[in-house]
């Protein structure tokens, strides 16, 4: 029973991590940037969704609004900021560092702005379905309609993204633009637009993650900080370049953490995160779903 219960909580934790992880992987795939601002973007989009929910009384309008807002914010960041950054930062070890620092700076700015507009206190969003668990006999499972909704959202996002990437050429354009903007441009790919699209897509995923996550907890400017770390670790576990990997990484981490909490100790959350990550990477240094590397000469 405990095993099953833990599995279920792992599933629900994992699905939230997966959503964040997807958002991070999308930006990574399109620009080779780990977007730490995603925590801020997602929160800001969620506030927009919150305002819509307050005004329309409809969770679903809010969800759509959050995704649209997320896409817009992502696109704006790329358009006005990341493009300029990449123009200025081209080579050397700074290429590793500058985007990280830049997105951290963005995170700070977005959090300050949300804090200024909405204040620091908690807001809550009433989810469209009950958060209560499914009941079997006299037992209530630690997994209910909202958790199911989130799992479904992950699955649907993954499917939609898969379709976008398989059916259209956007996936390949994204990857090509990220790996070599110059060759992509010479092949006629509108690299700037494609990258902005990647950011927008990621922003939408972040908005979705935000509003679903907040339905189960509370909304404040720092609401997604911890989730960002777990999302990043999930993405790294999964291999950063693959959406399936992002989702798998999220579930691996979610399961690992919940089993550690259930069978060892609550205090094991952060140590488990580190241990599972280093275990995976010792076996596969570039994540579970990485493709084989190029030659070395």
């Amino acid at each position: 029973m405990k095993l099953f219960d833990t599995f279920l909580t792992g599933l629900s934790t994992g699905s939230i991590y997966s959503l964040m992880s997807i958002a991070l992987v999308l930006v990574w795939r399109s620009t080779r940037v780990i977007n730490f601002a995603q925590a801020g973007q997602a929160v800001l989009s969620t506030y927009v969704g919150y305002e819509i929910i307050v005004r329309t009384n409809s969770f679903w309008f809010g969800l759509i609004a959050a995704m649209i807002a997320g896409a817009a914010i992502g696109a704006l960041i790329d358009f006005f900021f990341m493009r300029a950054l990449f123009k200025r930062v081209k080579s050397g070890p700074i290429v590793l560092v500058a985007p990280v620092v830049a997105t951290l700076g963005l995170l700070g700015i977005i959090q300050a702005i949300t804090g200024f507009i909405w204040g620091l206190d908690n807001k809550s969003i009433t989810p469209p379905v009950t958060t209560g668990g499914f009941t079997i006999g006299d037992r209530t499972l630690p997994f209910g309609p909202l958790n199911l909704l989130i799992v479904v959202a992950v699955t649907v996002s993954l499917l939609i993204l898969a379709i976008i990437f398989q059916r259209t050429n956007i996936g390949l354009s994204l990857r090509a633009s990220a790996f070599s903007p110059e060759i992509s441009k010479l092949s006629g790919i509108k690299v700037d637009a494609i990258r902005t699209f990647g950011w927008a897509l990621s922003g939408a995923a972040g908005g979705l993650a935000g509003i679903l996550f907040v339905s189960n907890s509370a909304l404040n400017p720092n609401a997604m900080d911890v989730l960002l770390v777990f999302g990043f670790v999930s993405a790294v576990i999964g291999g950063l370049d693959s959406l399936i990997g992002a989702v798998a990484g999220g579930f691996v981490l979610g399961m690992a953490i919940n089993f550690a909490v259930a069978y060892i100790d609550t205090q094991m959350i952060f140590p488990t995160t580190f241990l599972i990550l280093i275990l995976v990477l010792l076996l596969k240094p570039s994540g579970l779903f990485s493709r084989s590397k190029g030659r070395r000469d």
């Binding site: 029973m1 405990k2 219960d5 833990t6 909580t9 792992g10 629900s12 934790t13 804090g115 620091l120 206190d121 908690n122 807001k123 809550s124 009433t126 958060t131 209560g132 668990g133 009941t135 209530t140 630690p142 209910g144 189960n216 907890s217 509370a218 404040n220 720092n222 900080d225 911890v226 979610g254 919940n258 909490v261 259930a262 100790d265 609550t266 205090q267 959350i269 952060f270």
Partner: protein, 406 residues
């Protein structure tokens, strides 16, 4: 001898380092504002011995390093006369030494922590804390459980730091150690973690769960209990730090869930407008702190500010740091305060309040006495001393909330 910094014929400068941003800022961010509001109110009514009080606030985000530098800034740069209302164990314990408060004999008034370590006068010679210690809280809880809940065994879900550890020490001192203890790192309790915890507890015969942590964790656990349909099956008790009804409701806990939640407190209920102190503070809040809703944190801030004003008055016209400290030592126990439990300042005791009463929240979020109609107050110490029922009657509110003591 040169005069102490921060006092002139017409002003007194006080300082506070506390979080107003970050995750702790969300919980305690209103504190400095509330204190400022009360001081403004006093200033508008003539100040203290003709001096106007200014309060310099510095945000430490609840980080030890920042607390150390910000407190040092308060002393060296802002040249404050005394500190008042600093917040947090991890933060203030570092700030105290780093800012050399002891060497400079800077009064460190009404620190908002229940960590009993601050009562150590050799280590913190200028510090007075305000909250009863967490150990006291645990001991009083143990007593309550024995008297009202048939002494049933209980599980403890507590923050993995001084807060939780002090609590365990208290329960152990009361000879009722928790049957099951789970410590958790701050910021890690998600709804799934809470569910895992509650599922595990519900598999044991334990029916009583004590939550020794901040209100957001209490909320997460209660919501998990709702989801798992355990609200009726388990009884929850929250410590004074984690039982703020407003916050619980704002975080989406159902009114029906908090209805009946047992919570410890040493203050009147912040919603109780019939309480003289509360209604006076509310009035000040409306006027001098516009747009900020009145809650436990605001109450706490105003109360500390009011104690500060009394301390300053008690120190007399010739205000010195040493004088302020000895004034609290000698007269602190007689200050008017909103607390329903006695103040315990003396030359040997540095902990302000030293007891608790137990209430039950109702669906509106009001804390009503758990038994009878008036709060039953227990007092104790942080060590092995007994828990005794107190018939303490607090002093009446000074006229208009403006102290006139000397």
């Amino acid at each position: 001898q040169a005069a102490d910094p921060g006092v002139t014929a017409t002003t007194i400068k006080l300082g506070i380092s506390s979080p107003t941003t970050g995750s702790a800022g969300r919980v305690y961010g209103k504190l400095p504002g509330a204190m400022k509001a009360y001081f403004d109110y006093i200033n508008a009514n003539g100040g203290v011995n003709g001096r106007k009080i200014t309060l310099v606030h510095r945000d430490d985000k609840y980080l030890p390093t920042l607390a150390a530098t910000q407190t040092t800034n308060l002393i060296l740069k802002d040249q404050v006369f005394a500190l008042v209302g600093a917040l947090g164990t991890a933060t203030h314990s570092k700030a105290y030494t780093a800012a050399a408060l002891a060497a400079k004999n800077v009064p460190d008034l009404f620190v908002n922590t229940g960590y009993s370590g601050f009562a150590n006068k050799t280590k913190y010679p200028t510090t007075f804390t305000i909250l009863p210690s967490y150990a006291m809280e645990a001991k009083v809880m143990a007593k309550y459980i024995k008297d009202n809940l048939a002494g049933q065994p209980f599980a403890l879900f507590a923050q993995a730091d001084e807060f939780g550890k002090d609590g365990i020490a208290g329960f152990t001192a009361a000879k009722t150690p928790p049957a099951n203890t789970q410590l958790y790192p701050t910021s890690s309790v998600t709804s799934d973690v809470a569910k895992t915890y509650l599922t595990a507890i519900s598999a044991t015969p334990l029916k009583l769960v004590i939550l020794f942590g901040t209100t957001d964790v209490t909320a997460t656990v209660l919501k998990a209990a709702e989801d798992l349909n355990l609200v009726g099956k388990l009884t929850f008790m929250a410590g004074s730090v984690g039982g703020d009804a407003n916050t619980l409701l704002a975080l989406g806990v159902k009114p029906t869930t908090i209805d009946g939640l047992v919570a410890a407190s040493f203050f009147p209920d912040a919603k109780d407008t019939t309480d003289a102190y509360v209604s006076q503070f509310m009035e000040i809040n409306t006027k001098y702190n516009p747009g900020v809703t009145f809650d436990n944190v605001v109450l706490q801030g105003m109360n500390s500010a009011m104690l500060t004003v009394q301390a300053l008055r008690a120190a007399g016209k010739d205000l010195t740091r040493a004088g302020l400290i000895s004034a609290i030592e000698s007269k602190g126990a007689t200050f008017a305060s909103a607390g329903l439990v006695p103040l315990n300042f003396s030359s040997t005791s540095r902990i302000g309040y030293n007891g608790y009463w137990f209430g039950k929240l109702n669906a509106k979020g009001e804390l009503k006495p758990a038994t009878g109609t008036t709060p039953v107050v227990y007092t104790t110490d942080s060590g092995a001393g007994d828990v005794v029922k107190s018939d303490y009657k607090r002093l009446p509110l000074p006229a208009k909330g403006i102290p006139t003591n000397s």
